[in-house]
Structure formats: C-alpha cells, structure tokens
C-alpha cells in the first residue's frame, strides 16, 4: 500500500506527462503482480466500487471527533470532497497528537505496509461488511492506525471516489513499456473489462502470442479530432471519404464463435438494452466486428430520430416490446474491423469499406424485407473541391446529424485519438444570449468557487425564466472574476445556491433544442456551454423564450 500511496502522491504532485509516465513505469516494474493489477484497475477507473458511502464515513467521523454536523458542512463546502473532509477533520480529535496506533482489531487487521491487494481484496471489503457500532469501531481503528497523509487515500478507496490525473492512454503506455509490449496490443487486451488479479495481470503482460485469441474483447476505438480551418486544403479532396457524423452512440457489433456482443464506446456491454441489434449480429457471419453508430431509426424513414429517442433506450435493461416498436434501434455501420475472423485494421479504409459493402449486400439479400433496415450503411460522399465543405456540413441538420466526418481513404484503423487521418467537422452550434440567475460552487478542484451557473431568458411578461445550466466555457481568470462578482451581488441564498442580481449576460452555445415537459421553459438544450461573456450587453437585451422557440421551429 505504501508504494501505491507514493505513486498517488507523485502523480498528484506533477503536471508533467513525462514525470507521470516515469512514475507509472517504475511502479509497474517493481510492484507484485496482484498489487499492480489493483493499481491498474484503480488508475483506469475500472474499479470504483463504493464500499462505504461518504455519508457513513461522515457519521463515523462526527462520532469520533464530536464536532457539530453544521461545522462538517461548512468544512465540506471549503474542501469540496467528502473523503478529504473526513480525512482532514479526523486529525482534530483529542488524541490526534499521538502517533498512529497499530490496529489490533480482528476485522481484517492489516497495516499500511501490507500490500495493496490485501487492502483491496480483504481489509476494505471486511470493513464494508460490518454493521453499525462494530463498523464504526473498526473504521475508527483503521483511521487511527494510519499516518495522516494516508487517510485521504484510504477514504477515497473506501468511498469509491479514487481519481488521479492520468489518462487511460498514459497508463496503457506505461504498462506496455514496462512489459515491453506493443501499446495497441495492451489497449486491446484491456478492452471490455479487467479483473484485478495476479492471473489477469500476468495475462495482460504476457509476451504476444501468435494468433492471440482476444475473442471476448472489442477493438479499441479509433477517435476523430476536431477539424481546424485550413487543415486539409493542401491535400487532394478525392483522398477523403465524407460521412455524416451521426447523433447516436458509438458502438462495436461483434459476432464471434463465443457469441454476439454490442459494446459502447465506454467499453460497456449493452446487449440487454438492444436485443434487436444482438439479433442482427446473429444474422452476420461469424468472425465479424463492425464499428458504427447505435441510433433510433424507423425502418422506412429517411432520417433517424433525435437523440432524445435513443435516450429512452439507453440504460434500459429489458426494453418492452412497445418501446422497441416506438424507438427501434438500428446499427449504422461505417467500418469493418474484423472479417472472417481476420483483423482488418491495418488495411486502408478503402479496402475495409469495400468489404463492408459486400457484407452489407449479402446481409440484405439474405434478409430481404425482413431485415427492416436494422443494419444500414453510413453513406459516403467525396468532394471535388474543399470550397464546398461547409455547405455540405450545413446540410447535416436536415439529416439529423451533428456534422461531417472526414476519413482518409488510405488510413489504417488506429487506436485512440490520433490526429491526422480522421477528422470531425461539427455543425456550428446554436446560440442564445442568456442572463445569469443562479450560481453554485463546484467540487474538487472547483470547491468554494462559483462555477455551476443557471441562466434565464425573458418571457412575454418581462420575467426571466431558467432555461439551461452550464459549467464550462470560461477560462480561469474569467471564473475568478465572475466568482468575485457573484459573491458581491448575491440577493438570496438557498443552501449552496446563490441567486444573483440579473445583470450579467452570457452567450450560450448548444447542439440542439427539443421540446420538453420537464423543463419550466418548455424545452431542453443539448450540451449547453458558455461561448462568450457578453460584457457589452445589458440584461434587457438578452434573448427571449420566443427566440428559443423560433430556433426550435427551424429544427427538422
């Protein structure tokens, strides 16, 4: 555990990628496989089980420190994190001055010198399994046995809130380098879940075998980068395949000897939510892996449904027949990653696309009208001249798409976000000027800083009606300036929320606008964020609900 705590401190204490990489490599090199497995799962966020709730930890802390609850709340507002507040307050208790006392209780007694795996597999779950007073005593004893700087880490692990600033890509690279393996191979082996055990870690870091069987796993997704103006103009437009950027969720549909599966981009198995797509996968030949979009699309319709329809399907374990009828899912295929059991990812896109089209034609012939267009090919286009790019992109709204994808015809299917051969060119967002009405402090890094804002638009009676919340878009200097302004212009407080004088105008950008019964203003916007602080505009000149309605009517 000490080695992992040291790693946490190193990663948390530097902004330098190379220093993080070095620290990770050193850890993976020296850690026992069972510990390394747990560290990996924690760093990748694959194990965030909440063993004991933050509320329960707080209870135990309050009982041990005899501080009033309101004081805990005041501290929490300053710290922005329950586990950390508990860790800091625990030191306030009367006997805190003394050295950590070795724990003697039986509930999985372990000391901080014990390996991470022992803590994760035994000690912490045992604490979680206890009840009532017995649990309070065991947790207190555990806290007492820890040096103060380690309390935070243990509380984070207990409450399932462990996070540290490393990306999946960086952890994968460090692991691959320390095991002397290809990064893409490690990424692939990690797809679809990872059980923290010594055996799993050994498999993960084993030398690459010929014809390695990764039958249960999807391929790592290749991700596009936002297109910047002028990026492609020096290349011939015929070298690029253009497709709509569909507004569904990215997925991989697989049929292998072991069965059929549908994976989301978040590497979750979503078979149960989409039984009709699993049925579709069974109609495909064994040894097939498709990359594409899961989207709601009626068999005879020209365009898919808006994202809101898909939202009704997501997260539903067993969708009813009527829901499947009202919101039928389709798979819009845009790439073929595996064909007849062969990994095609190194072939150029052009070849993969040819084979995808052949596969699609075969499927259609076999299914006929029965297929119900459950599988669709993402239509492709090419441009003659770059000049026509934005005009084409602007037609996306009519297709209920988010914009265009541009893919180099000669590009292999890479791993992760690699710039150069896949670009996304999104529609210009919709925009409205709105008035800041409420603000709430953020958490973590933004604790005690007002960063969560609610905005309003004018109704016909000259009142401001809340219509959207936004959390992002301002830079640090603006956030601080606005934070100061909010504190000085608060009119009322509702717990953590402050109402402010309706004076500041912000331009909000968002991707779409849809009618909604749940929102007071009558509609909901997608991905709202602040695009500009309109210091030049008085509140009276902000937009109205009527202008929002007009935007909504322009939508297909």
């Amino acid at each position: 555990m000490q080695a992992f705590a040291a790693l946490f401190r190193q990663l948390d204490g530097t902004g330098s990628t190379s220093a993080k990489l070095e620290a990770l490599q050193a850890y993976f090199h020296s850690a026992a496989p069972a510990d390394a497995a747990w560290a990996l799962a924690l760093l990748l966020g694959k194990r965030r089980r909440r063993l004991i709730t933050g509320r329960r930890l707080r209870e135990i802390c309050l009982a041990g420190t005899e501080l009033p609850e309101w004081l805990f709340e005041a501290c929490h507002a300053q710290v922005g994190d329950s586990a950390e507040t508990v860790a800091l307050l625990w030191q306030q208790r009367a006997d805190a001055a003394s050295e950590p006392t070795p724990s003697t209780d039986n509930a999985g007694s372990a000391s901080f010198e014990d390996p991470l795996a022992l803590w994760m597999d035994e000690r912490l779950p045992q604490l979680a399994a206890l009840q009532g007073e017995e649990q309070a005593e065991a947790v207190s004893a555990c806290w007492r046995s820890l040096p103060s700087e380690q309390l935070l880490l243990v509380n984070k692990l207990l409450s399932g809130g462990f996070r540290v600033g490393v990306s999946t890509g960086l952890v994968t690279r460090a692991l691959a380098q320390s095991a002397d393996l290809d990064e893409a191979l490690v990424a692939h082996r990690l797809m679809g879940g990872f059980t923290p055990s010594a055996a799993a870690f050994a498999e993960l870091t084993a030398t690459a075998a010929q014809d390695e069987s990764l039958s249960a796993r999807p391929y790592p997704f290749f991700l596009a980068s936002p297109l910047e103006p002028g990026q492609l103009e020096h290349t011939p437009p015929e070298g690029w395949q253009l497709e709509w950027k569909w507004d569904g969720i990215r997925g991989q549909l697989i049929h292998r000897a072991g069965g059929c599966s549908l994976w989301s981009r978040g590497e979750e198995l979503i078979n149960e939510a989409f039984p009709e797509l699993i049925a579709l996968a069974e109609q495909l030949p064994q040894g097939t892996a498709l990359d594409g979009e899961v989207i709601v699309w009626h068999g005879d319709a020209d365009t898919p449904e808006a994202f809101a329809s898909l939202q009704r399907r997501l997260g539903r374990k067993a969708p009813s027949r009527s829901l499947q009828r009202d919101c039928p899912a389709a798979f819009v295929a845009y790439d073929l990653l595996e064909h007849q059991g062969t990994d095609l990812r190194q072939q150029p896109l052009q070849h993969r696309r040819e084979q995808l089209e052949m596969l699609y034609v075969n499927w259609q012939e076999a299914q006929g009208a029965e297929g119900g267009n459950r599988l669709r090919l993402s239509a492709t286009q090419t441009l003659q001249q770059w000049g026509g790019l934005d005009d084409l992109r602007d037609q996306a709204r009519g297709q209920r798409a988010e914009g265009l994808m541009l893919k180099a015809l000669d590009s292999p299917y890479l791993v992760g976000r690699k710039r150069g051969s896949w670009w996304k060119h999104k529609l210009e967002p919709l925009r409205l000027d709105a008035v800041l009405l409420y603000a709430q402090a953020g958490s973590g890094k933004r604790a005690n800083l007002y960063t969560d804002y609610s905005f309003g638009l004018w109704n016909g009676e000259g009142e401001l009606v809340t219509f959207a919340k936004a959390y992002s878009g301002l830079d640090n200097a603006e956030i601080r300036e606005l934070d100061r302004w909010i504190r000085a212009h608060t009119t009322e407080r509702f717990g953590p929320v402050r109402a402010v004088e309706p004076l500041q105008v912000f331009e909000l950008a968002f991707e779409g606008i849809q009618p909604s019964k749940r929102h007071k203003c009558g509609f909901a916007v997608r991905f709202p964020r602040i695009s500009r602080w309109r210091t030049d505009k008085p509140a009276s000149e902000a937009d109205s609900l009527a202008s929002a309605m007009a935007l909504m009517e322009q939508q297909p």
């Binding site: 948390d12 204490g13 530097t14 902004g15 420190t65 501080l67 009033p68 309101w70 004081l71 005041a74 501290c75 300053q78 710290v79 922005g80 994190d81 950390e84 507040t85 800091l88 307050l89 030191q91 306030q92 935070l152 600033g165 958490s443 973590g444 890094k445 933004r446 604790a447 005690n448 800083l449 601080r480 934070d483 100061r484 504190r487």
Partner: protein, 357 residues
C-alpha cells in the same frame, strides 16, 4: 455604528474607529490617524495623515506606502496615551513588526488582533496572549480542517523537495512579505548556506529583515543573475503573482511549489496548478484561534475575515462565548489572495520583472 458592550470601538465607512483616540485601526480609506497592525496591503493603505505602527515595520511601510509618510514608530508593550485612550501594541507573531492593538478607555478594554499566528517563526517576534474585555479576531482559517505543523517541519519538507531535483531549478511561490523571509529563516536554521534567488518583488522587501538581524541564507535578486547561468539545483523564491508569468521563462523546466495555508486542501492546490503544496501559514489555525479567544478572556468576541460566521457560531454554541461576525470590508474574499494584490511600487516591480527577464 458603536459596537457593544460599551462602544469604545465602532464600525465606520472608513473602518474600525475609536472615538476616544480619534483613530482608526487598519482603515480602508484615508483618515487623519491610522493605527496599523501590520504592513500587508489589506491592512496598511496609502493616504493617511499619520501612521502608528511597530518600528520594525517602518521599512516595509515606507517601501509600500511611500517614503514620505508620517510614521510614528512604537515598541511592543509601550503604553501610549492617544486622545482619551490608552493604546498599546503587542506582538501578533504574523510577520515582522506585526501587532495586536489594545485600546482602553472608560473602564473598558478592547483588543484588535489583526492577523496573527501562534506557532514559532524565526523571522518575527512570537505571539503574545493579551487580555481584554472585547476581542476582535480574524478567522481567515477558521475551520477545523486547518491544523498546522511547525514551520521547522514544513521547511524540512521544502528542503527535501528542493534537494530531490539537483538537475533542474525549483521555484517556490511565497507571499513576498512575511512568508518568503520566514521560509528563508527556517532554511537557514536547517543549515542551508547556498545562495537563494529572489524575484524582484521579494528582494525589495529584504532590507528590513536584514536590519532586524534575521538570519537567512545569502540571496541574490534574479535581475543580477548573469545570462546563461546554470540554474540546475537552484532555488528561486517568487510571489504567486509571478506564477506562469512570462518573466519566469528561464524556469520553464523547474519544479514548482506553493507555500500557503490554503495548500491544506487538495482541490485548492490543483486549481492553482502548483506541483507541490506546502502547508505553512502566517495565520492562526483552528486550534490557535480558539486558544487565543480563550487566552483573551474576552466576554464578547467579534469575528472578521474569512470564516467569520463559522467561528462566531462555534464560539457561541459550543464554547458558550458571546460572539458574532463583524460585517464590513473585512469580507473581501481572501480565499485566493492571502496577501492582497500588491499596488504601487510593488506592482511596478512585478511588471518590470515580467518584461525584463
């Protein structure tokens, strides 16, 4: 507005006012007579007719408010008759020349704490507990999450951090007045004898400390560092305002850390983008605030700055001491600016440093 119990002090638009002494304590606006607890910019402001302050702070005050100010230097513990009031200054342990100010008239005594801390600091006189009927205390760190280790312990951490990177420079961000010199004095006690580099805004405040006989390692202003000098293993002390400024371009590869009480909270450090946070404050921690209130034996406590509501409520409900928050310009948010943004010549020094190097 006269403050209870007997109204020896009142809150005026200019700040805390004592009619008996016809004097304001740390006024926010220019007044004829100012009694100054210490030379930080949010306590000592320009434009007053006369300033009463501890002699050791004279150098800093003149540096910050102008050489020509009318300053009446006093010593700790001396009793002065100002108007109808008897006034004395007592060490606050905050920074060089910092004081708590005690006022007495009409059978009533008040103590204005200014900013203070109770742990040892080799760069200034130690805190002195003072008794009074009414106490006005700060509460910048008035939450039980704040609990300080000794300066010596933190300095040892700083030293270990600095020595762990012999191949590149280390930049330590500290408030220019007080914290920077405290860190230097603690490093000296740990036997550090190598030259420490100072940002211009820190360097210009060193004179009064040398004059006061505070032992510190040798220092050199950044501006006097020869071009192309090897910076590996060197330590630079700079004010937080210089963090990420172009002026520190030569230190782009440096490891950096920030020394402040705010660093007790992880989010506060991450938000500012510092690598390491060293928890060292020149304010009292939670236990220190409670202890000082008890030591004063005050029957009535007013709380200013930062967590005034929280500390007042705790004193009232848990300790059974009459206490209430005092609203006013004290509420200027100090979360990010422990030391108010420098103005005048100091701001100019910061700007000059940013372009010169």
């Amino acid at each position: 507005m006269p403050l209870a119990p007997g109204g020896l002090l009142q809150l005026s638009p200019e700040g805390l006012y004592c009619p008996a002494a016809r004097a304001w304590i740390d006024p926010w606006r220019p007044v004829p007579r100012a009694l100054i607890t210490h030379a930080h910019a949010d306590h000592a402001r320009p434009g007053c007719g006369e300033y009463w302050a501890i002699g050791a702070s004279e150098g800093i005050l003149r540096e910050r408010l102008g050489a020509e100010i009318k300053l009446l230097p006093v010593d700790y513990g001396e009793l002065h008759r100002i108007g109808e009031a008897r006034v004395s200054f007592h060490s606050a342990g905050h920074v060089l020349g910092s004081a708590q100010i005690r006022l007495e008239a009409g059978g009533e005594s008040w103590l204005v704490s200014g900013d203070y801390k109770r742990c040892a600091d080799p760069s200034c006189a130690p805190f002195e507990p003072v008794q009074a009927d009414v106490l006005i205390s700060e509460a910048t760190f008035g939450l039980p999450i704040y609990r300080w280790q000794s300066g010596a312990q933190v300095a040892a951490e700083i030293l270990a951090w600095w020595r762990s990177a012999p191949d590149r420079p280390s930049v330590l961000f500290c408030y220019a007045f007080g914290k920077a010199q405290r860190v230097l004095a603690e490093l000296h006690r740990l036997g550090v004898a190598d030259e420490v580099l100072l940002h211009g805004a820190v360097d210009r405040l060193m004179g009064p400390y040398w004059e006061a006989g505070v032992a510190m390692p040798p220092t050199r202003p950044l501006a006097q560092l020869e071009r192309g000098a090897d910076l590996a293993g060197r330590l630079l002390i700079a004010p937080p305002a210089a963090h990420r400024s172009r002026g520190l371009g030569r230190f782009a590869k440096a490891q950096n850390g920030f020394v402040s009480g705010w660093m007790a909270v992880r989010g506060a450090r991450r938000r500012r983008g510092y690598g390491r946070g060293f928890v060292m404050s020149d304010h009292a921690d939670w236990a220190g605030l409670l202890q000082s209130v008890k030591d004063s034996q005050a029957q009535q406590v007013y709380v200013t700055h930062g967590q005034s509501n929280v500390l007042a409520r705790y004193l009232q409900e848990v300790e059974g001491i009459n206490a209430e928050p005092l609203e006013g310009h004290f509420e200027a948010e100090r979360f990010d600016d422990d030391e108010a943004a420098p103005a005048g010549p100091e701001a100019a020094a910061l700007a000059a440093n940013a372009t010169a190097s």
